[in-house]
Symmetry: C2
Subunit: 205 residues, 2 copies
DNA sequence: CTTTGGTTTAACTATTTGGTTAAACTGTAT
DNA sequence: ATACAGTTTAACCAAATAGTTAAACCAAAG
């Protein structure tokens, strides 16, 4: 996927698109400002004219990526709908997001891994995902005898794992199972329904 | 210079241990030879005396890590034991491995992501994990009506996702759920049984 | 004692890389 | 035409970094 040569794009947009591509592919340490300039079709001087430093540019790209990675599913979590429907909606929503941004997860996870301390404060300025609401609902459903007892942590981690991990381990998975990119995407498409039903079958009483 | 039972590590071992730590923490691009030398308690000259280049050293560390990441479960996969027991053994085995090497997955996955082409040829010189055996067994179990129909890819990816992903997303998970390292490890310990039963409940007919 | 292999010290080279600068150029709006 | 923001060119600087080199050091083996 090369850069789109839109005359419509402003230079700033071209730079950000290029930076996105290079940072996501190479990481902060592996990315070169020259590469970003080349990819944006401009020169280094102009790149620094728009963004003073590599760090500034990286911050923008990373923040944007992190936001995509931790999507705005607050409404979903807080919505007053049955748990199984909530699971179905969550999984479909999340896998859709991953299919649209397949390389965001490994990028974000790796940069967070290299600098865990900074991450927590920077990305979520105190506002964490409303995980408590969902956890409470799970507790209620367990007490009502609708689903088997399970710690909300495990249920959520299981769901999220199955949504994200295939994209993180994509090159290995496609190599082991000898899949083309098209076949991989078909399987991911299937997972939108499959993972939800897998989870529901696993927990329903 | 024959048999010297080293109470202490040899210099080569010290270097490899240091390299492991630094590469796994910082990645190939982020790692500094000086850091590795410091961590090994030696100097840069000696470091290059033992390992000619950064690449050579990285190769060793990466290969070792990749081997741990894709463990020798061939025997397990080929063993003629019931599918549910196989799942239980696999999950426990794999999560144990992850608990012993918690930072291997993100390291390997990220380096593979940065260079997918090289990976396939380098790590598995043609010899891939015997995934076909396991897939065949799943097919047989489905036809025998013991488990619900599911593509072996999805079943395996689901299992592996739930085993590995918590470690890949560890800093985020611990931050969202406000977990100490001890609490995190307790939860991972629980998962050895929990994930297996989760999978079995999800697929049993 | 002498040799020898591992080790240190410390300086050095070559290259990469983030970032800067100044001058010239270009199109558009005033 | 003129002014100006955006852009290019090309050189440059300073720091970091991989890798080298040579001399000296040291402990153990012959």
């Amino acid at each position: 996927m090369v850069e789109e040569l839109n005359k419509d794009q402003t230079t700033e947009q071209k730079i950000l698109a290029a930076a996105r591509a290079v940072f996501i592919e190479q990481g902060l340490a592996g990315a070169r400002m020259q590469d970003i300039a080349d990819r944006a079709g401009i020169n280094k001087a102009l790149l620094h004219y728009y963004f003073r430093s590599k760090e500034k540019l990286f911050d923008m790209v990373f923040e944007e990526a992190a936001m995509k990675f931790l999507p705005r599913i607050s409404i979903l979590f807080e919505a007053d709908i049955p748990i199984f429907d909530k699971i179905r909606t969550f999984v479909e929503h999340y896998i859709n997001l991953m299919m649209e941004n397949p390389f965001i997860p490994i990028f974000v996870l790796n940069e967070v891994h290299k600098n865990p301390a900074e991450f927590i404060t920077r990305i979520w300025g105190g506002r964490m995902p409303p995980v408590r609401e969902f956890a409470a609902q799970i507790q209620r459903e367990i007490e009502a005898g609708n689903i088997k007892p399970i710690h909300p942590f495990h249920l959520m981690i299981n769901m999220i794992s199955m949504c994200i991990f295939p994209f993180v381990g994509r090159p290995i998975a496609t190599s082991v199972f000898e899949l083309s990119n098209e076949q991989f995407m078909v399987l991911m498409e299937q997972r939108k329904k499959l993972v939800a039903e897998f989870v529901i079958d696993a927990i329903k009483a």
